[in-house]
Symmetry: C2
Subunit: 308 residues, 2 copies
């Protein structure tokens, strides 16, 4: 069995690669990693690293030397950047995804697509569940929803076997610019661990959905393995922890030391507070019934995100 | 003011063109017609006819000699054909629409997009209204929904001023192959008028939504004229008449002669009956409040569709 991963050097991608290589949850012959560039190399002889745009015909042709059984399509221009640079987002998130699906059409692999809760748009309804309609209010959310629709149509036609996961905010990204407006969630966890002062751009009562990258990687792998009938819906809202910033800070203080609470200051940005501080409860019954999981507890989420 | 129409030689397009030229509901300087070929010419000096694919850069550049204030984007690979020839549907309905929107981006015209009730998929819920979610179950419905999403994102960004109409079955298409599985609706009306025998592929109780091409053209023109705030939803379910085949036949007998009822036979095709015979009631409150209209009565619908 061969596995392809687009965006393999990205935040979630590199966690998934490490999980596959170090913990060996599944057997495979070749692991084909696609990304624009790879900051680190891999010594495992099963790994092929292909640098370039995942939708570049030359890259796709090189990858085809190891025809895929599973494809994890994680590569994406993130939300804030897709909003700022419209054409870049369209090229990568929409046209790139379309080109990838076309290249995969003749091979009918399982395709796991990293979609996003951004498809729901803002403001969110009082509860988000499997019936919540998608009404994107950003170019990123629009492009992700279009990716889901294409994946479902390709699946319905028997061209491939698609599964789209609507990912919540995933933590903890490495520090530094990410193009994500929700990056403060990751920054908070890093600062809680390090014990360094940090000023959050949202209020203590801001509530959002939390999932560690490790938990996300397990859900992605699970998505590739669940048996689904051809006509079953292929888009999944994932379970995630629903917690306020002050609950996360309190849990961080329990894990790392009581001085942590004093190191966190709040200077809410009205725009960020509106977009990322008002997440409602989330009920992902269909995904839970199929075995998708959240981190279990805030303590485990923090431990999996930044280590203890 | 300049107006562009893609698919201008098509069924709805040619009715819209005739309406604009002969009844002069609005003033314009140039009417730019785009289609693959035009079976008839126009003597009106305001008309420019451009043959070719509407998404061909050379065609778009030629059209740009008359920068548009209003664009009616009607060109489309119809449902049955888009299902049979996947790549053709993707190229025209998806990539073509995307190329057109990109070409219009710098000019911010009003863009009226002919979407379709096919976005709802099958089976339909017991009632279709403004809250009914779109779950396409065909490539055509998928491509139309993607067109709506792109139009809304371009509108939200201020690139253009889009309005998408989810059109029901429009009658009466000229006889002959159309690529539409619902062509029997138009065939029925032609045969009712001519008094010629016809065997319907659905049962007498089959119920669907009916709108004449003339009524459709009026709604398209209305869509270009209604004032909408930037953040208002840009996708409209249209009012349409909800009637069974036997009600339409009975009305045809009243209009054209009582012998009409005997000339119609029924040999239901289970697939067509399931897809086109079970349309539920339709409640298009938002569109009605904004002044969109159905034909008014079955008698008017038939009269507008085939004449009396």
């Amino acid at each position: 069995m061969n596995i392809w991963i687009t965006g393999a050097a990205g935040f979630v991608g590199s966690v998934l690669v490490r999980y596959l290589l170090e913990e060996r949850p599944v057997d495979f012959a070749h692991l084909v990693l696609l990304d624009k560039r790879f900051p680190q190399t891999h010594t495992d002889p099963r790994v092929r690293m292909l640098e370039g745009d995942f939708y570049d015909p030359a890259v796709l042709e090189a990858a085809a030397a190891h025809p895929p059984d599973w494809v994890f399509h994680l590569a994406s221009v993130p939300g804030a950047l897709a909003e700022r640079d419209f054409l870049l987002g369209q090229r990568v998130n929409l046209e790139g995804t379309l080109a990838l699906l076309e290249a995969l059409r003749a091979r009918s692999p399982v395709v796991v697509f990293a979609s996003s809760v951004a498809v729901y748009g803002a403001p969110l309804p009082p509860l988000v569940d499997d019936q919540t309609p998608a009404h994107p209010s950003s170019s990123y959310g629009t492009q992700k929803l279009i990716g889901e629709l294409l994946l479902q149509d390709y699946t319905r036609r028997g061209y491939l076997d698609g599964r789209a996961l609507r990912l919540p905010g995933i933590v903890a990204r490495p520090p530094g610019p990410s193009g994500l407006a929700s990056a403060f969630m990751s920054e908070l966890l890093h600062h809680l661990k390090a014990g360094t002062p940090y000023t959050l751009p949202v209020s203590p009562q801001a509530r959002m959905w939390w999932m560690s990258a490790r938990c996300c990687a397990e859900n992605l792998l699970h998505a590739a393995q669940i048996p689904l009938a051809p006509q079953e819906p292929r888009v999944f809202l994932l379970p995630a922890l629903w917690a306020s910033v002050e609950e996360v800070v309190a849990e961080g203080a329990r894990l790392f030391g009581s001085d942590r609470e004093e190191a966190i200051r709040y200077r809410p940005d009205p725009d960020l507070e509106a977009r990322f501080g008002r997440y409602p409860p989330l009920r992902a019954e269909r995904a839970l019934a199929l075995g998708f999981r959240h981190d279990g507890s805030l303590a485990q989420m923090i431990a999996q995100a930044v280590g203890v």
